[in-house]
Symmetry: C2
Amino acid sequence: MQLRLETLEVNARHPFRIAHGTKQTYRNTLVRIEHDGIEGLGEASPSHYYGETPEMVVEALKTWAPHLGDDPFAFDAIDARLDAVLQGHGAARAAIEMALHDWVGKKLGLPVWKLFGLDPKAVPLSCMTLGMAEPEEMERKLDEILDFPMIKVKLGGPGDVDNLKRIRARYRGKLQVDANTAWTASDAVRVLHEIEPLGIQLVEQPVPRGDLDGLKYVHERSPIPVFADESAHHLSDIGLLAGRVSGVNLKIAKTGGLREMRRMIHAARAHGLQVMIGSMIETSLALSAAAQLAPLVDFLDLDGHWLLEDDPFDGAPRERGVLELGDRPGLGVVRRDGAPAA
Amino acid sequence: MQLRLETLEVNARHPFRIAHGTKQTYRNTLVRIEHDGIEGLGEASPSHYYGETPEMVVEALKTWAPHLGDDPFAFDAIDARLDAVLQGHGAARAAIEMALHDWVGKKLGLPVWKLFGLDPKAVPLSCMTLGMAEPEEMERKLDEILDFPMIKVKLGGPGDVDNLKRIRARYRGKLQVDANTAWTASDAVRVLHEIEPLGIQLVEQPVPRGDLDGLKYVHERSPIPVFADESAHHLSDIGLLAGRVSGVNLKIAKTGGLREMRRMIHAARAHGLQVMIGSMIETSLALSAAAQLAPLVDFLDLDGHWLLEDDPFDGAPRERGVLELGDRPGLGVVRRDGAPAA
């Protein structure tokens, strides 16, 4: 297999602020895997929060390139070879795995969701994310997304509760909140009781990612279902989270790919946990990859498409809050600029 | 999709006795699903222990037949339709799901393990099962299988420990034992300490299937790793078994198919549980279906092939204790009698 890399500069419509920091331009990496005349595409969205940089992603991909072998179907054997030379690097790993899935789907002439035997009618709605902002800016951003059926509000700063009240006063759809690890367990319980009357569907990651006891503390006292996000990277995390949360938010850039994500979904179901599929700031390429597993989950946060100024790909995400799994083979993604072989 | 049924009369080489009872002839059902000029095969092995009879299997299959629809790829949608008219009936359900997998693999020209992205080199050895018997008969049966690398001895009757000592005196390979729910928790702990010096790899289902506290009691006190079998049917069981056993023995006739089995394997891994794939008394057809997931597990008990007097199929099981996943499409199974389209 031949691996080629391209820089994907991704610009958000607005500076995107969450409890971890603010960004507007993202440097993702496009992974192209060519074999037997077919090209599979993947996208790596490095996460600053997890210490990943664009340069590190490229280095990891170059380190792995000679070990891909010559059989794109051999996911487990490829996994083992890549692990043997370099572990971790979820975003880069996910990009390779996306490209392999895209390749296999194109080779067989089938969309990946169909290869997985999933039901495209079972795709839930996606929320739209509202980053942190000063009140006036928040109002402007809210104006743009009032027609979405579900909004996720980033919390974890001063004025959280007042912001949320202002949003609820104008927005009648479903509301979720995400603290991105910003709170202590006792603060979380206090805030969650305070915002409960606003009708909040769920709260993500109220406490630091390693604070499993804190998650449990909040889970047992919160009037709002608690989901883990930063605490849920790998399959073994599900074992630790069982009994400590109501659900998990999974992202392929964390899990390292669709296969680990699927394993985690099944493990979560063994405990009756609810499951959300989330995303980083990424194009329709990575979003369409994640969307392949959408029929298996309860909630989607695949909104990057709507957050971007420019999306070089046309893939699964469609109308506001509604994703559709189409019949195109592989990940179902084509370049908007009509570049060849992609 | 067109569903056709045939009776598969299966004769064991010896009367097969376990703690639940004795049998020599088994009436399994061959399921043939035809669509678009391709036929997929499956096999239902009803379990008396779970209240299934051959007649009940046929009735369930006939009930489901009109709801199969016209897309063999649509596993999840088919599952939902079948569940809506009749739940349970694991053996019959597994047979349909096997036939669908066989069909899809044949349609795409790929073995099912390859569609799943698995590594055929990762298949573990299979044990060979030694049913309960009087000492003299036991010696004769042992003679026939001394060259297997791993033997599983059925326990749960009088003279267990003496039998096992006699076996160990002549057999140097790995030994597993299976009580098939025969013991109380305290008896189990006593017997397991008594047989520990014989070098026993693991013990299956020491206590009744509903006795989860008993499993935990034994697990915490046993010098031999405890596996659940009769207690492990569905994904939700894994959540209950986590922390109560060292591993689980999964069988498609219990789980209702490969997909639920795979979900259970992943859930088990989230808790660091070991996994065995087991079997009923069945032909190489059902065994080859189960073998498709063999690269994901630690132990195999896919020995039906060697227990049978006559096997109408040629599939995955090969040399004594060694299974190979071949390159034939679908489940990789052909009829020995050369009957058409199978």
